[in-house]
Amino acid sequence: MSALVLPNRRIENWKYTDLRNAIDPAAIESAPTAAWNVASISGAGEQNDLPEIMPRGKHGAMAEYATSLAKSGVFLRVARGQKASAHLQLTQGGHGRALIVVEEGASLMLRQTSLAEGFANIVFDIVLGQDAALSHVKEAPMAANAVRVADYSVRIAPGGAYAAHFADFGAKLSRTELHIALEGEGAEAHLSGVGILGEGRHADVTTRIAHAVGNTQSTQLFKIIAGGKSRGVYQGKISVAEGANGSDSRQTAKGLLLGERAEIDLKPELEILADDVKCAHGAAVGDLDPESLFYLRSRGVAEPEARALLMRAFLEDAVAEIADEAVRTELWSRVEAALAELSA
């Protein structure tokens, strides 16, 4: 018998995602250490072994297992004032750790992909120094039997900017937690993501953004398309600390249901303890608009193509958040392939 208690829907934070249904605790306990491959690194990026003492941010329950069970990990660092780009690839699942440090005034363009098909439980610590910039694009491929849990803790110093895009093409279960701490004035976090879920998939994105000090900014734009019998979840909590005046926070989450067996749960939350803040949030779930569909079809566009066009349009602004044109174009090609599969 395993002693592990897996997160489940009785825990508020895991209300919509029950790991117990997807994997056996024994499989988690016996999972190997994940393997990484730094597929490319250019500019002043350095790759090292994990340091003895890790900077630790706020993490969720599964991250504790990853931290204690992963025997090694990957550490990317960009030294003060330097620029780099890197492509980090998870080549084998299991428990994994990664540390990304972008020092004062430095910048990094990070692409993260995965070849793992089974269970993966990854914990990321990301530290941005003063005026540092990290552009992070993560792609999780379609993997029918994969159970993937990832937990990112991002700490951002004054003037630092973190822009992240998470694309999820569906797994048996996927849970992504993002714990963002805006720790200094002028710190910014811009999160976006798309989820394209076919039959039997479950994807959960849970974000926790803490405006610890004033004059910090966060934006979020997440879009989920759920087809077949699938479930998409977005829960996002924004906390503005007492005295963190001038904080500006925007959060949008939208879901598109393609059938009656699909489900999308969106749960935005605000916890504001400061007086002078700007917070705007919106969440909506809908179907493909029949009038739009008819309009396109009446112009000769066949139904599957019209549906794919409308789905692409639904995702457009979220994908457009990716600043790097080459990365964005590449992601679009995968998004379009996934949409074609979904409308077929």
Partner: protein, 249 residues
């Protein structure tokens, strides 16, 4: 070209068209005039194949074929075009991309070669000019933030681009000021051709001063109650629908 016989159409279980008959030949422009609620929009939607418009009796034949059996995209493929009263706004799809997708979808359906992006751009630019449609407008999301007049001009641009055999214009004049109306009417008149039929659906006679029809049909309570030449539109304007309906009864 179009042969409608004793057409009965129900929407949500309620009969709207109650035995409508109409036929048009190539080269002709027919006007269908009728008051609100007479079934004008139902006729245009049932011709274009919108869901929820149930044909409960009669037939629609287009070039000898049963139109009702075809999906909306197939109707476009065989040359039917409906310029809508309320064109739909679609955020996230640029107007230019939409035009290219639709044009090539129709060309594929007709077994014609697709036109590449540059070719479509050239074609659209050429046709957009006459309709006072700017480059900037073509870059915007489809119909999003367009004024009423811009939306109608974009419908006519599609008419010019797709070159359909049968064009149905549903209340194309609604919401247009006189200058915009002239631009739209000029656009439509330029497309009158011996191999093309047009069905102009309107509440008011005003549009027919600019697009002069060969035949006028008066629609009331789901049936054509009167037919005539272009002078019928003037008679309607002078007498009003109520009198014409009374006369016909």
């Amino acid at each position: 070209m179009l042969e409608i016989r004793d057409l009965h159409v129900a929407v949500g279980g309620k009969e709207i068209l109650k035995g409508l008959s109409l036929s048009t030949a190539a080269g002709e422009v027919h006007a269908i005039m009728g008051p609100n609620g007479s079934g004008k929009s139902t006729l245009s939607y049932v011709l274009a194949g919108r869901e929820g418009y149930e044909i409960t009796g009669g037939s629609i034949r287009y070039r000898g074929e049963d139109l009702a059996a075809k999906a909306p995209e197939e109707r476009a493929g065989v040359g039917l075009f409906l310029a809508m009263q309320y064109p739909v706004e679609i955020p996230g799809v640029t107007t230019m991309n939409f035009l290219k997708t639709a044009l090539n979808a129709q060309r594929r359906a007709r077994g014609e070669k697709e036109i590449d992006a540059l070719g479509v751009l050239r074609l659209v630019r050429e046709k957009a000019k006459a309709l006072h449609i700017s480059e900037e407008m073509l870059k915007r999301a489809l119909n999003v933030g367009f004024s009423g007049g811009e939306k109608k001009r974009l419908e006519i641009l599609q008419l010019a681009l797709f070159e359909p055999a049968l064009a149905i214009l549903d209340e194309t004049d609604s919401g247009l000021d006189i200058d915009a109306l002239k631009v739209v009417a000029d656009g439509v008149n330029a497309l009158r051709a011996p191999d093309r039929a047009m069905l102009v659906i309107t509440h008011y006679q005003r549009l027919l001063n600019y697009i002069v029809p060969d035949r006028v049909h008066v629609l009331s309570a789901g049936r054509i109650i009167k037919e005539g030449g272009k002078e019928l539109a003037h008679e309607l304007e002078a007498k009003g629908y109520a009198q014409i309906v009374k006369d016909a009864a």
